[in-house]
């Protein structure tokens, strides 16, 4: 197909340039750019009028229009009169439509490079602002919790039930798998060292104390951060995008009480229970290694574990679980509520919720460990 557009130009009068367009002006074919005309106009001595001749033009589409738009923009800038009469009627009208609303100039984004100091400053300001927002959210949550204690919080019991189901029962399989394997891994690593001293039996102590006091809570917390924290953030974020949260506010219902509180409550209730369950799974994992690989008797392993793991250990583990639950719920709900109004913002919120929760879990573990050390527990 001879899909070619051609341009010829002639100066019909001293101040008039006639642009003859011919052939096939379709996008994707071979089209001469507008540069040729623009150069001619620039060099041409005092051209004040541009007219078109399109009698030889057979086909046209967007390709012709972009060309014309370029020429027109140049002419407007140089105050050259552009006579559209010679154009095909359709192209003329589309061109008029395209120039009916003037280009918005001031709306363009500034795309200047930011200097390092400015960047650093912005980041610092952002950091403090987000720290402030975090505190504000925490405050709102406390207020909502107080409302709950006074029995005045507005939320639906059925919602709470559903969330408890989602964060509790439905999390059991993944928590089982992870904690069983962690117990198994701990036992393996311990066994290699302890075998050197012929002290295999202490694998039970190692696995028991590590799981009950710390690992079960941390692993469950991290699983829940990924599973539930991200889900909370995505859910509330999408509600933010759909203006559902605005609708709650204007209906006089506090989103903190209606959305955040049940989630927090559900995780705070379920996390210690999940931890307890994770303890059992972890110890079971260790036992598998102990009984099958190290030839420790089942009863013997059980007795050793019972002797090693004190009530304090369990208490600390469950308390950590409770704290982690609150952290995961807080992080998820906060990022969801702060979410922007686009699909990518929802993604950012979910990511940020998981990261915040995991950082929170690790930091609070450190704090709890140091505190316990001071208290001599």
């Amino acid at each position: 197909m001879a899909a070619r557009g051609e341009i010829t130009m002639e100066q019909t009068a001293a101040d008039t340039l006639k642009v003859v367009l011919s052939g096939h002006w379709k996008l994707g074919g071979e089209l001469p750019g507008a540069d040729k005309v623009l150069q001619m106009l620039e060099r041409g001595p005092g051209v004040r009028h541009v007219v078109f001749d399109t009698r030889e033009l057979t086909h046209w589409d967007t390709g012709l229009l972009t060309f014309l738009l370029n020429v027109q923009a140049f002419c407007t800038q140089q105050q050259i009169r552009l006579n559209r009469d010679g154009l095909p009627p359709g192209a003329r009208r589309l061109l008029e439509l395209a120039s009916a609303v003037p280009e918005k100039k001031d709306a363009r984004h500034t795309e200047g490079r930011v200097s390092f100091l400015t960047y650093l400053g912005n980041q610092t300001v952002d950091f403090f602002r987000s720290a402030g927002e975090m505190l504000e959210f925490l405050g709102d949550t406390v207020i909502a919790a107080l409302q709950l204690i006074r029995g005045k919080a507005q939320y639906r019991r059925s919602d709470l039930g559903l969330i408890i189901q989602a964060v509790g029962v439905q999390a059991l399989p993944i928590v089982s798998l992870i904690c069983f394997l962690v117990g198994l891994i701990l036992a393996f690593i311990g066994a290699i060292q302890l075998k050197l001293f012929g002290a295999q039996i202490y694998v039970a102590d190692l696995v028991g104390i590590a799981m009950v006091r710390l690992m079960a809570a941390i692993m469950t917390g991290i699983v829940m951060a990924g599973r539930t924290g991200g889900a909370f953030a995505a859910q509330l974020g999408t509600m933010q995008v759909n203006q559902e949260i605005d609708a709650l506010r204007t209906s006089g219902i506090s989103p903190m009480e209606f959305l955040v509180l049940p989630r927090m409550l559900a995780l705070a209730l379920m996390m210690p229970l999940l931890c307890l369950y994770a303890n059992v799974m972890g110890i079971l994992g260790g036992m598998v290694v102990g009984v099958w690989m190290l030839d420790i008797g089942f009863i013997q392993y059980y007795n050793e574990t019972v002797a090693a793991v004190g009530l304090w250990n369990l208490g600390i583990g469950l308390f950590s679980g409770l704290v982690f639950g609150v952290i995961v719920a807080l992080a998820g709900c906060m990022r969801g509520m702060q979410c922007g109004r686009s699909a990518s913002a929802v993604g950012d919120a979910a990511t940020s919720a998981v990261v915040t929760a995991i950082v929170g879990i690790i930091v609070s573990t450190a704090v709890i460990t140091i505190l316990c050390n001071f208290l001599g527990i």
Binding site: L27, G28, D61, T62, L65, T66, L69, N70, P88, P89, G90, A91, R93, L94, L97, A98, S99, A100, V101, P102, E103, K104, K105, A107, R108, H109, E111, G340, R341, S342, A343, S344, A345
Partner: protein
């Protein structure tokens, strides 16, 4: 282009969600170069009809022909090829929120044409100018108003100079002047490029201003009751439901 060539033919179409039948026995023809209005009250299945026509949802029964090709009888590849020549404007714009408007419009061009980046920039500029949004290239969809998102959605639908354009509620949520300009744009594109337009709407002003063919889906009896030029329908119909619809409930 001859005026009366069939572009899309719908025959005995039944739309359903599971057991729930939304509309049955739809038979009508959209001609080449028509501005075809799909009208009907809320919840009558206008938008569902569109999802069937653009290949997103299979009909429960019946056939859709693009030209001679049985659209839903063909394989996915054929359907993709047909739909590539169509542009769709979704109800709320459906712009990709992680891309700027320029990138939104450029994506189909980059995917399906071998234009240079410079040419693509020019096309993007033109399409935005056509919907009255020149200069908004670098904006993200979340930074502009709902009406603007809609218009940008139209610019994206037009990117590839499609043979057929689908509009889902194009002028809902636009100010009267923008809505009017949109009508002008639809008319102009049909005039100058011969594009077939399928417009799902219940904006009466638009229906009478631009439509030269239409189908009325009656929600109460779950089928179509009329097809033809809306102005003519208004003058000739005896159907109380249609009359009520076309006169904002004033006549019945």
């Amino acid at each position: 282009m001859t005026e009366k060539e069939a572009h899309i033919t719908i025959r005995d179409l039944t739309m359903a969600y599971g057991d729930f039948i939304l509309m049955r026995d739809l038979t009508f023809t959209i001609n080449q170069g028509d501005i075809f209005i799909v009208m009907g009250g809320s919840g009558c299945g206008k938008s569902t009809l569109m999802t069937i026509l653009i290949g997103l949802k299979a009909p429960a029964k019946g056939k859709v022909f693009y030209g001679e090709v049985d659209f839903w009888g063909a394989d996915q590849e054929t359907r993709d090829r047909i739909i590539r020549r169509a542009g769709v404007m979704y109800q709320s714009g459906a712009l990709w929120s992680s891309m700027t408007l320029a990138e939104n419009i450029a994506l189909p061009l980059e995917t399906y044409t071998n234009l240079s980046p410079g040419q693509i920039r020019e096309v993007v500029k033109l399409k935005l100018a056509l919907v009255g949004m020149a200069g908004f290239e670098e904006f993200y969809p979340s930074e502009i108003s709902g009406g603007m998102q809609k218009r940008a959605g139209i610019a994206r639908a037009m990117a590839l100079d499609p043979e057929i354009l689908f509009f889902d509620e194009p002028s809902a949520g636009l100010d009267p002047v923008s809505a009017r300009r949109l009508d002008d744009l639809i008319l102009e594109l049909r005039e100058s490029l011969g594009t077939t337009m399928v417009v799902v709407t219940h904006e009466l002003a638009s229906i009478f201003a631009i439509g030269n063919n239409s189908v009325f889906l009656d929600v109460s009896i779950r089928t179509m009751t009329a097809t033809g030029n809306p102005n003519q329908l208004l003058a000739e119909t005896r159907d109380p439901n249609l009359l009520q619809f076309l006169t904002r409930g004033e006549k019945r």
